[in-house]
Symmetry: C2
Subunit: 90 residues, 2 copies
Amino acid sequence: VSQSKKSRTNVDIYGQMYVIVGEEEPSHIRMVANIVDKRMKELNEINPSLDTNKLAVLTAVNIVNEYAKLKSDHENLLQKHKREGQEEDD
Amino acid sequence: VSQSKKSRTNVDIYGQMYVIVGEEEPSHIRMVANIVDKRMKELNEINPSLDTNKLAVLTAVNIVNEYAKLKSDHENLLQKHKREGQEEDD
C-alpha cells in the first residue's frame, strides 16, 4: 500500500517525543518543532510558574497573534500590489 | 502608578481560564484565543486519544507551520513588489 508523500518525523518538544505526520520534508518539520520548543522554553523563563499545558496553550496564543499581524501586513501588501498594478494599466 | 496601555483579558481556551496581558485590544485577544480554542477542539476530533498537553503542543506546531508558509509568501511578494518598483524607476 502506497503511503503517498507523507513523512513521519520524530521530534522532541519541551522534553516530550512527538511523531509528526505530514507532507512536508522532515527537515522542515524539525525546524517548525524547534520553534515551538524554543518558544515554550522562552515563555517558561519569563513565567516559571506555568505548567506545561498552559505554556503550550499560551505559546499557541502568541503565535496566532503573530500570524494575525503578518496576515494583516500580507493583505495590505497584496492590496497595494493590486492597486499599483491597476495604475500601470491605465 | 500608570499601567501604560496594557489590558488584562480573561479568556476560556479548551475549558481552562487564562488572563492574557497585552497591549492589544481585549476584542483582538478574544479573537486570537477563540482561534486557539477552535483549533484544539478540531485536533481533538481528529485525534481523540491526545491529552490536552499534546493537543496544545501540536496545535502550536500546526500554527507555526502555517506561519512559516505565510512568511514565505509574504517575503516573495515583498521581493516582487521591490523588483517592480525598481523597474518603474529605470
